[in-house]
C-alpha cells in the first residue's frame, strides 16, 4: 500500500477527516485535478447513491461516485464509477471504503458538492467524455 493510502486509511479510521489535493480527471467536472478535497469517515448505512467515496483499490485509493448498492452473496457491495468513466470499478466491499468526500475547494473557494444520480438523469458518460475531450483541447 502506498504511504498516502496507508495514512489516509489510518487517519480516517481514527475518526478524523483528511484534506488533500486530488489528482486525475476521472471525476470531472465535480472534482478537477488539483482541487483540494476533504474526506470524512462515513458509516455504511449513511452512504447514499451519488456520494463520492474514497476507497482502497489495491495499493492505492480512489474517489469515485456510488452508482448503486448490490447484494453479493451474503454481503453488500458498492458499485462506483468515475464520472468520466464508461464502466464501473470492480465491486467494492464496505471494508474498502475509507470515507466520503464532504467538500471540494477550487482556487481557494468551496465548490458545491451534490449527490448526482447516475441513472441516466445526469450527464451520460459519453457526453462527459466528450466534454473532457473538449476541455483538454481547449486547455
Amino acid at each position: 500500500m502506498t504511504r498516502f493510502a496507508a495514512l489516509a486509511e489510518h487517519v480516517v479510521g481514527t475518526g478524523m477527516s483528511i484534506r488533500f489535493r486530488a489528482s486525475g480527471d476521472s471525476m470531472y467536472p465535480a472534482i478537477l485535478h488539483g482541487d483540494v478535497i476533504t474526506v470524512a469517515p462515513v458509516a455504511a448505512h449513511e452512504i447514499v447513491r451519488g456520494d463520492i467515496l474514497l476507497f482502497r483499490d489495491g495499493d492505492r485509493v480512489r474517489a469515485h461516485r456510488l452508482v448503486r448498492v448490490v447484494a453479493y452473496n451474503t454481503e453488500t457491495r458498492f458499485r462506483l464509477r468515475g464520472d468520466t468513466n464508461a464502466r464501473c470499478d470492480a465491486p467494492v466491499a464496505a471494508s474498502q471504503i475509507v470515507g466520503r468526500v464532504e467538500a471540494v475547494e477550487r482556487d481557494g473557494r468551496a465548490i458545491a458538492l451534490h449527490a448526482t444520480p447516475s441513472n441516466g438523469l445526469g450527464t451520460s458518460a459519453t457526453i462527459r467524455r466528450y466534454l473532457m475531450l473538449c476541455r483538454r483541447l481547449l486547455a
Binding site: L7, A8, M16, R19, F20
Partner: protein, 103 residues
C-alpha cells in the same frame, strides 16, 4: 551550545498532529479542526524517527545528542549541532517546544 542544555518536549495535546510509522519512516500530519492535512506530511528518516522516539518524554537536547552519537557512530560535536538544528525545525513547525534547561 546554549541549545544543548535545553529540555525539549513534544507538543502533544492529542489534537495538533497525528503520527504514524510506515515502512520504517515516521510520518507526522498537522491537524487543524479535526482535519488532517495530507498535503503537509512531515517524513522523518531513521535518525529523525529516533529523535522523535526520544522525545516521548521531555529530554535534554544533550542527552539526545549523546544517544545519537553512540547509536549512529557520529562525533558528539556533530551530533549536538545536527540535533539542535533538527529540533529548531520541529519547533518552527509547532511540533515541539523547550520547557527549561538542565542544571
Amino acid at each position: 551550545m546554549q541549545a544543548s542544555s535545553r529540555i525539549a518536549r513534544r507538543i502533544d495535546d492529542g489534537q495538533s498532529f497525528v503520527t504514524r510509522r510506515i515502512a520504517g519512516e515516521t510520518l507526522i500530519l498537522p491537524v487543524t479542526g479535526h482535519v488532517a492535512n495530507l498535503d503537509s506530511i512531515y517524513v522523518m528518516n531513521d535518525v529523525g524517527t529516533r529523535i522523535w522516539e526520544l522525545l516521548e518524554a521531555p529530554t535534554p537536547v544533550e542527552r539526545i545528542a549523546d544517544t545519537l552519537s553512540r547509536e549512529f557512530e557520529v562525533s558528539p560535536e556533530s551530533a549536538i549541532g545536527d540535533v539542535a538544528e533538527f529540533l529548531n525545525v520541529l519547533r518552527e513547525r509547532g511540533l515541539i517546544d523547550y520547557i527549561g534547561e538542565t542544571g
